[in-house]
């Protein structure tokens, strides 16, 4: 009961004799390439980015040198798998080599408890060095790179285009803002999965969406790829899975939360629906021009990089939304997009998407009514399928830009992470049942490429009852997939 969520590095509003809990926070984040300054005295050249930037030069060099040494040293034991993390009492360091010789290092301060002592004496600090999970923060680090790559392309391409100077510029520009949005205290198993939540939909409505996407792509042939989302959940992706995964992450944790729904906007708000012909439509651009009527409107769209392993494509990212339906249109960056194109797109997509969005909403409500509220899961669970990256969680509330809210105690979330780490270690299907400190039972199941984690709160339940309960959950919630019991 003493634990409370607090911001990065700031103590909670503790008073009197209460303990202060500090959540894990970002200490350092740096990127280096050991090949860039091999000679003594040139070490600074290795450093491409360093956060925080106001750290003294020698300390930067020292920290980078230390990481380099650790990686080099541990490589002798296992050349194929270099070190991933370093545990110390006060912090934990994560190493990641996304491209050859380019290293990203993230240093996270362990969570700690500050216990006040008697008057005058400084408080005792206890570091909770076992509280953070390698898998979770390792995944966060990889996500940082993926997000950078989505908007900037690979390090190597930047080097080719403009040398170290360009690369450092890009890194500076991107990570300066991005690192502020990292909320290390609320990272959990879902960050490890980096999954995609799919919107449940009946076949007919899905086919209508297919038809819509195909028609738009046909009439606006500039469009190379399209992705369709509803309620922040994916329905269709023309992009390959890995690219979609990171784009989805960007859309749901950054872009969408920044835009409020126009339906909720007031009468005189600029977000009122457009009237095109006799059709009222709610379509609007989330990227690019915020108001087409504005003569000063800018027609610049963010650029993204996809298929970086082979065709390496740079694309304009147009995100267009009508009510709860959002569509991403991706167009080769070499195309000039201006007012004319945007108006054409708005006129074509706006009315259709508005109709489609209300169709989906209606269908969704019908399906919900059919299945009934009784079938809404009483269980708290996380499901993930490695094959299609499908993820479902009844533990997590809506993800917002700032923080992800979970409905369970962080200790339980940590158990989930631990079970996952166990699953990673073995190839075979297995099941782990954990009795937590409180009345909770935590069950983890792995079947082929799927993982399921269930949290049960049943007083005095025994192992057999818990097992039965999970079986029942599988039979009702996952009856349409092959899930070994």
């Amino acid at each position: 009961a003493l634990i409370e969520e607090v911001g990065i590095g700031t103590p909670g509003m503790a008073t009197g004799m209460q303990e202060k809990q500090y959540t894990p926070s970002l200490l350092n984040f740096f990127i280096y390439n050991p090949k860039f300054g091999p000679r003594e005295g040139e070490e600074e050249k290795k450093i491409l980015f360093y956060h925080p930037s106001d750290v003294e030069k020698n300390e930067k060099i020292r920290n980078v040198g230390l990481c380099e040494a650790i990686v080099q040293f541990t490589r002798t034991f296992c050349p194929s798998k270099p070190a991933k993390s370093l545990h110390t009492q006060k912090n934990r360091q994560f190493f990641f080599e996304p491209e050859e010789n380019f290293w990203i290092v993230m240093v996270v301060r362990n969570p700690m408890v500050e216990k006040p002592n008697k008057e005058g004496k400084p408080p005792t600090i206890e570091y909770q060095e076992e509280e953070i999970l390698d898998t979770v923060y390792g995944a966060v680090l990889q996500q940082c790179y993926s997000m950078y790559k989505l908007f900037n392309g690979t390090f190597a391409r930047a080097m080719e285009a403009g040398g170290v100077e360009l690369l450092t510029q890009k890194l500076e520009k991107f990570f300066y803002r991005y690192l502020q949005t990292l909320h290390l205290q609320s990272c959990d198993l879902l960050d490890v999965f980096g999954g995609i939540s799919f919107f449940p939909l009946d076949k007919m409505t899905y086919l209508k969406i297919q038809s819509f996407v195909n028609r738009v792509e046909e009439s606006l042939s500039l469009i190379k790829y399209t992705a369709f989302l509803y309620n922040d959940q994916l329905i269709w992706s023309g992009l390959e899975q890995d690219d979609m995964r990171i784009l989805y992450k960007y859309l749901t944790t950054s872009l969408f939360p920044r835009h409020s729904e126009p339906e909720l906007a007031g009468r005189d708000s600029p977000l009122r629906p457009e009237v095109a012909g006799n059709l009222l439509h709610y379509g609007r651009f989330l990227t690019g021009p915020s108001n087409l009527k504005d003569p000063e409107a800018k027609f610049r769209f963010p650029k993204i990089f996809v298929n970086t392993d082979d065709s390496y494509e740079e694309l304009h990212l147009i995100v267009y939304k009508a009510m709860s339906a959002a569509v991403c249109f991706m167009i080769s960056a070499s195309e000039e997009l201006g007012r004319e194109f945007c108006e054409q797109l708005d006129g074509l997509v706006g009315p259709q998407l508005t109709l489609l969005a209300s169709d989906i909403c209606e269908q969704y409500n019908i399906n919900r009514r059919v299945s009934g509220p009784d079938k809404e899961p009483q269980f708290k669970f996380i499901y993930f399928n490695h094959m299609n990256l499908a993820e479902k969680s009844t533990i997590h509330m809506r993800k917002t830009a700032s923080v992800s809210l979970t409905s369970v105690h962080p200790d339980l979330m940590k158990i989930l992470g631990d079970i996952h780490a166990d699953f990673v270690r073995v190839d075979e299907d297995e099941e782990i049942i954990v009795k937590a400190m409180t009345d909770y039972w935590v069950v983890g199941k792995k079947s082929d490429q799927r993982e399921l984690y269930v949290i049960l709160n049943q007083k005095n339940a025994n192992l057999i009852e818990v097992n039965e309960e999970v079986k029942r959950l599988c039979a009702t919630q996952f009856n349409n997939i092959f899930f070994l019991d």
Binding site: N214, W236, R450
Partner: protein, 638 residues
């Protein structure tokens, strides 16, 4: 230019001798046969029909002034009748009052005949054996003229001074029923009372199964009248006859009417062209049933008669049936009888609006191949923005397809229920050419289309999905070969993630063949394995297949746990599992599996030993060698 002519004459016309002083030519509407009567029948009667391979010829002793025909094919006698009962050689019959004039007679069935006089109608049954007629019913009414529709056995009588009040009678199985009379609205009312409505301007025809009276309404040239029009009156068995459609001709002159394939064809004499109307084709800009011609007026495709060169199309008399009679008396001194046919191919190029075109084609008799070729053509061009059109066309096809399937289904259900409940015999729905099913589309359109190299794969997939969407919209079960085509195309272009998403949303419905197809893709796309297993699981009839798949992956324990979860573990082959367990070279696994089956034997038969029928001797020996004699479960001895 020949593509321009959407009307043509049939290939083999009926040829007959010219009408002359010694020769009379008659046309039997009911049987669609031409009678050439020479010298009043004394020198011979030749009967020819368009379907007859051989004409019938016979001699007739007596001079004929008038002739009516009955079932010549069955070699029934020809009856002749004369006013006042004179000269009938076979059967004679006096009809009407003394001063009545016989206007004509019609056969309403093979043994029923109706006489029309200027004073009424008389309905007789023919008794061939007694060589006499029996009066069934008669009705007195002043008649100017009459028109008969043989297909429906309806006679229209023109009454009143102006002749524009029409009294229809329907004949069926010995009954004559008077239908409600109706008035034709005349364009101008002349002061002196005289007959205005002529029988030449009236025709009766069945269009889309409904009976219509067609009135050719000539407008006076005065004023700014747009031109003549054909007014259709819908004649119902019960209830009043209503004016239902107006066909705008936009010109004046002499006209002739035909109904071919439910299309009203209006021939315009002076321009030598024909207009085509489809009363089901609605003009969007008017909710009244005013119709413009489907296509611009064109002449009938010139017909070449061997030896003589092209024959011009002469004047035509209105014939209220599916035949066009053209007496080309000025040629060779002989006559021809043709069918008028509608050529659908020229319509395709003349009617640009694909949606209208499809509706039009679907209502035609010989439409299948034309529709399929329109589909192929439409897809091959791949015009920008053609997908919405493709969608509309598919929807139109599938609507007709669905209606047929539903009719078929309710027929099957009715038959299964037996005749006990339904009093009327169930009629099997007729499958018209407009029913374009999935196999037609696959064979003639889609399979060829997906092979095309000059069309982008994006478009190909979009079209396939559009077809599947349309089928789903009409709740038609999609055939496996269409899914196979989708999968083949996706795999060919390496769009496996797309395939994965389709399967995720069950766009490709579950089936064992599809699951097997997915299994075969596993080497190129590993997730196909999971997709396949999920599908087999959902089918719930494929437990054996699931076991096979798991065993092939050496997931022996998984297979066993699965079969136990579905309650099938008492019936599985022990040998199959033990074989698979041995192959894993995992001793403990083998032990576990072996022990499971020993326990099963104990439970089922009271002894842990395997029976010879299970062929497990080899595994028993291996178990003994690996774990020793004492590892076997001891048989329980009581």
């Amino acid at each position: 230019m020949s593509e321009e002519h959407y009307l043509e004459l049939c290939d083999s016309p009926v040829q007959f001798e010219n009408a002359s002083s010694v020769n009379n030519v008659f046309f039997d509407e009911a049987n669609k046969q031409v009678f050439a009567v020479r010298s009043g029948g004394a020198t011979g009667v030749v009967v020819k029909g368009p379907d007859d391979k051989n004409s019938i010829a016979f001699r007739y002793e007596c001079a004929l002034k008038s002739l009516c025909f009955a079932l010549i094919k069955q070699n029934r006698p020809v009856f002749s009748f004369q006013n006042g009962g004179q000269g009938g050689s076979e059967i004679s019959q006096v009809c009407g009052e003394k001063n009545a004039t016989v206007l004509g007679f019609c056969w309403t069935s093979w043994n029923e005949i109706v006489f029309i006089t200027d004073q009424g109608v008389e309905f007789y049954q023919v008794l061939p054996d007694k060589r006499s007629l029996k009066l069934l019913k008669s009705h007195s009414i002043n008649v100017n003229w009459y028109v008969y529709c043989p297909e429906t056995s309806v006679i229209l009588l023109s009454t009143t001074v102006q002749g524009n009040v029409l009294q229809p009678f329907a004949f069926k199985c010995g009954t004559m029923s008077k239908m409600s009379k109706f008035e034709i609205e005349l364009p101008v009312v002349t002061k002196p009372a005289k007959i205005i409505l002529s029988e030449r301007d009236i025709a009766v025809a069945t269009i889309y199964g409904q009976l219509y009276v067609m009135y050719l309404k000539h407008h006076s040239r005065t004023g700014n009248n747009p031109g003549a029009e054909v007014v259709l009156y819908h004649l119902q068995r019960e209830g009043a006859c209503k004016r239902s459609h107006i066909l705008k001709l936009n010109t004046t002159g002499k006209f002739a009417l035909n109904v071919v394939d439910n299309l009203v064809i209006v021939h315009h004499q002076s321009s030598q062209t024909s207009f085509m109307f489809d009363i089901k084709m609605k003009d969007t800009d008017s909710n009244l049933n005013i119709h413009q011609p489907v296509l611009p007026a064109r002449s009938i495709h010139p017909y070449k008669i061997a030896l003589t060169g092209p024959a011009a199309v002469g004047s035509q008399t209105p014939v209220p049936c599916e035949l066009c009679i053209l007496f080309l008396t000025f040629l060779l001194g002989s006559g021809y009888l043709w069918y008028l046919q509608v050529k659908l191919k020229p319509v395709v190029s003349l009617l640009q609006d694909k949606s209208k075109l499809m509706e039009f084609l679907l209502r035609r008799r010989d439409c299948k191949m034309v529709i399929l070729s329109v589909c192929s053509q439409m897809l091959s061009r791949g015009d920008k923005g053609s997908l919405p059109v493709v969608a509309i066309v598919f929807d139109k096809l599938n609507q007709v397809y669905k209606e047929y399937l539903e009719a078929e289904q309710s027929y099957t259900m009715a038959v299964e229920c037996g005749p006990s409940r339904g009093s009327t015999a169930h009629k099997r729905p007729v499958r018209t050419q407009a029913v374009i099913d999935q196999s037609d589309m696959y064979t003639h359109v889609l399979s060829l289309f997906t092979e095309r190299k000059d069309v982008s794969h994006k478009f190909i997939i979009a079209v396939l999905m559009e077809y599947i969407r349309s089928l789903n919209q009409f709740q038609i079960t999609v055939q496996h070969y269409l899914y196979e085509l989708v999968i083949k195309t996706l795999v060919q272009h390496n769009l496996l993630y797309m395939l994965h998403q389709f399967l995720q949303y069950h766009v490709l419905s579950d089936s064992k063949p599809l699951a097997c197809l997915l299994l075969s893709l596993e080497s190129t796309y590993p997730p196909a394995h999971q997709l396949s297993l999920d599908m087999l699981k959902r089918l719930s009839t494929a437990n054996d297949e699931i076991v096979e798949v798991l065993l092939s992956k050496q997931q022996v324990l998984g297979a066993l746990r699965f079969i136990r979860s579905v309650g099938g573990h008492d019936n599985i082959s022990a040998r199959k599992f033990l074989d698979a367990a041995r192959q894993t070279k995992d001793q403990m696994l083998f032990y576990t599996i072996f022990r499971f089956f020993e326990q099963r034997n104990q439970r089922l038969r009271g002894s842990p030993n395997f029976t010879p029928g299970e062929h497990c001797e080899e595994h028993v020996a291996y178990f003994k060698q690996a774990f020793g004699e004492q590892a076997f479960i001891k048989p329980v001895t009581l």
